[in-house]
């Protein structure tokens, strides 16, 4: 360990090049190579380390490069300008001003706990993680009783980040108390919502935080085997995790007698085929067992009867990444961030008509207005804000008048939205709310597993009604049909997919009914999205 620190400290500068799935399409790998070449060319490779890291957080102006010390953040770096950065900044000590990212409210209002190491460490090196205090939570917990670990979690107030917000400590107690064995842990990295990339980014940037979280959970509940369920469309995250697991095994952090204690835990990846519903907890269980990813009724709850009818803890990976921090710093420390009923932070994928899109992490309780206008920097091109869709494809569309509500599980549900997996899409005046509801309904029609009547047959009929209204054949009675069937789908569906799928319809009907009436009565769409013939749609 001392040798490793010496190795790290030998460097005066560290150039972190983001090579996550956000920056790679902008040419990040070429930039990385250019830095490696330039450092050699100027003969500074002994004092300047070039590292390949995960997401730095400025995905919209990638490739992003962070130079330490001093936290100098460069944006839109091209291979052509890399020599300039190395010559001026590293050799002469003069940062290249015109390429620096201006640290505005985008960073000031963020609070990076889960993404603590993102963009700072090389995710392919376990030493980088350890140097940041990684696996310290595991060390600490091994000297405690499992019950003490659970108590710390209960004190932290942490709630599940996968959508439902179930208190994590309580869930651990349930699995710990279950009499059957063996026990299992499944880390949920399915992330089936379109436009959401927080979990992928986390895995690409800091895989060991997830693994450490699982280890602590395993110790607390008495599990010996874990699975990370990840969609196969995430090749870089898969590769990063596989490497991390191998490194952890080599250092006896995984496997038999972990750190020479009697504690043992084995970890494997399982791949999903990319169905949205596969992220639902009972569907995941079926899929890990090799069956069709179809939800089943609860009870029995996975805590008592999960994988192969054994007690199973299912936890989102963002939830897991919080655990090491809680164990190291204490539950009371964690509870200081956020609100009393909703502690800590939440990662959001902020997209749509907003100046600073990207992956953000903000304290719970921040208002939607701060997220859209301060962190997000507002709507570009002088356009007017219209609505914000919170919670992914089955989230709620909220108007300007609701922007001052705090972001927490309960406040969002009250206004018809959900936390979901943390998708926030900003819509401006060019969006048609009827068309938006139609779009997300169609997504859910395609993703419904088909098991229960409301979701399978109900959503398909909602889609028909939207087809009618947006083609100019709408009647006022269609509004009643939409209202009645969406409340049946919400109240009557078997799993969370159907229960939340009508949210975009319900909220647009609640907050933007005039647009529906305009479409039906005047056959008018101010945003110019509807009433198009087939040909026009194709040209667009």
């Amino acid at each position: 360990m001392a040798q490793e620190l010496e190795f790290q400290n030998a460097y005066k500068y560290r150039i972190n090049v983001c090579c996550s799935s956000g920056c790679v399409p902008f040419g990040a790998l070429k930039v990385l190579k250019a830095f490696e070449d330039a450092v050699k060319e100027f003969g500074v490779e002994k004092e300047c380390k070039v590292a390949r890291t995960g997401c730095i957080g400025t995905c919209s102006v990638g490739p992003a490069v962070l130079v330490e010390p001093g936290d100098y953040l460069y944006q839109s770096v091209t291979p052509e300008r890399v020599r300039e950065i190395v010559r001026d900044h590293i050799v002469l000590g003069l940062p290249v001003k015109d390429m620096l990212y201006e640290r505005n409210a985008y960073f000031k209002k963020q609070h990076r706990l889960v993404l603590r190491n993102a963009g700072k460490i090389d995710p392919s090196r376990i030493q980088d993680y350890i140097n940041m205090g990684g696996y310290g939570g595991l060390l600490k917990c091994l000297t405690d009783t499992p019950q003490a670990v659970i108590n710390e979690l209960i004190a932290s107030g942490l709630r599940g980040r996968g959508g439902a917000g179930f208190p994590t400590g309580q869930k651990w107690s349930l699995v710990a108390r279950a009499q059957n064995s063996p026990k299992y842990i499944v880390a949920n990295l399915d992330e089936g919502d379109p436009g959401v990339f927080a979990n992928r980014t986390l895995a690409e940037a800091d895989p060991h935080a997830i693994i450490e979280g699982m280890l602590i959970a395993a110790y607390a509940i008495g599990a010996e085997k874990g699975y990370i369920y990840i969609r196969s469309e995430y090749p870089l995250a898969i590769q990063t995790l596989q490497k991390a697991i191998a490194q952890a095994k080599a250092m006896t952090l995984l496997g038999e007698s972990i750190l020479e204690t009697p504690f043992k835990f084995d970890l494997e990846l399982r791949f999903g085929a990319g169905a949205f519903v596969a992220g639902e907890e009972t569907a995941i269980l079926a899929s890990v067992e090799g069956k069709r990813a179809m939800p089943r009724p609860r009870p029995p709850y996975p805590a008592n009867s999960g994988l192969w009818q054994k007690p199973t803890l299912i936890q989102n990976v963002e939830t897991l990444a919080n655990i090491p921090l809680i164990i190291q710093n204490g539950g009371a420390w964690f509870a200081k961030t956020g609100t009393p009923k909703c502690t800590g932070t939440k990662c959001f994928s902020l997209t749509g008509k907003v100046n600073n899109p990207g992956l953000i992490e903000v304290p719970m309780g921040i208002t939607l207005r701060e997220v859209v206008f301060d962190v997000g920097g507002g709507v570009p091109d002088g356009k007017k804000f219209k609505a914000v869709l919170v919670g992914g494809p089955s989230g709620g569309c909220l108007p300007d008048t609701l922007l001052d509500i705090p972001i927490d599980y309960d406040s969002l549900v009250k206004v018809g939205a959900i936390m979901g997996s943390g998708g926030i899409v900003v819509l401006d005046e060019d969006s048609c709310m009827v068309d938006t509801a139609r779009f997300f309904t169609e997504f859910c029609v395609d993703e419904s597993c088909g098991k229960c009547t409301p979701c399978r047959a109900g959503l398909a009929r909602l889609k028909d009604v939207f087809g009618k209204i947006t083609n100019g054949a709408g009647e006022m009675s269609d509004i009643t049909t939409l209202e009645k069937s969406s409340s049946f789908i919400r109240d009557g569906s078997l799993c969370g997919l159907g229960q939340t799928a009508p949210n975009p319809v319900i909220t647009t009907l609640r907050y933007f009914k005039d647009e529906y009436i305009q479409h039906i009565v005047e056959k008018r769409c101010d945003a110019g999205k509807c009433f198009k013939s087939r040909g026009e749609e194709e040209i667009e």
Binding site: A275, V277, R292, R296, P297, P299, V445, D446, E447, S448, C449, G450, K451, C452, T453, P454, R456, A457, G458, A460, R461, D464, V465, K468, T481, K484, S485, F488, D491, G492, S493, L494
Partner: protein, 235 residues
Amino acid sequence: MSTNTVKLKIDGVDVTAAEGTTILKAAKDVGIIIPTLCSLEGLTAYGGCRLCLVEVSGTPKLFPACTTPIGPGMDVTTQSDKLKEYRKIAVQLLLAERTHICSVCVADDHCELQAMANQLGVDHVMFERNWSREEIDSTHDFLVIDRNRCILCTRCIRVCDQIEGVHTLDLKLRGKDSQVIMDLDEKWGNSCSCTSCRKCAKVCPVGAIYVEGEPIEHTKKRDVAEFIVERRNRK
């Protein structure tokens, strides 16, 4: 075997039943019949049709009676304006989902969906009907499946797997495109696992699976699963 009993109220009636009993069964034992379509005695519960939803006081959530176990002190309501409305919507959705024309259906008058519509007072369908054109397979010697009449209750799949024990039938695709298939999507006539036992036709609630040329009242024997399970458990 646990002999613990649970006390609860269903529609105001005091009920005592063994722990683990479903609301559906506990209600039936005191003569309260909750509407169902996918549930069938002798088979595992599925929870798909959602006809059996009931209210439990103290929570706004609705619970499927066929899969929800009773709990001590529960106060269950099986009939309310909201439940009636929802059950009617469910039946209308099933009627609109594929091609249901009672007058030309083999199961006319012996159809559980039709009977349910009558019982619940469904007198119109508020949705545009989706006139489906799904595949009809009549390659088997005498069994026919008309997927346009299927309501995806999966009774046939469960009876074939759990009672006959061969698992010829299963689902392919998902959502509104889901279809009952034989083996790995073979024509029925080519299925190598089907024993031609007819149990799937006996339990089908509608006219989706039937025996060609046989009067429907001869085919249907919806208690076949319950009967076999009872016989198997005979001491």
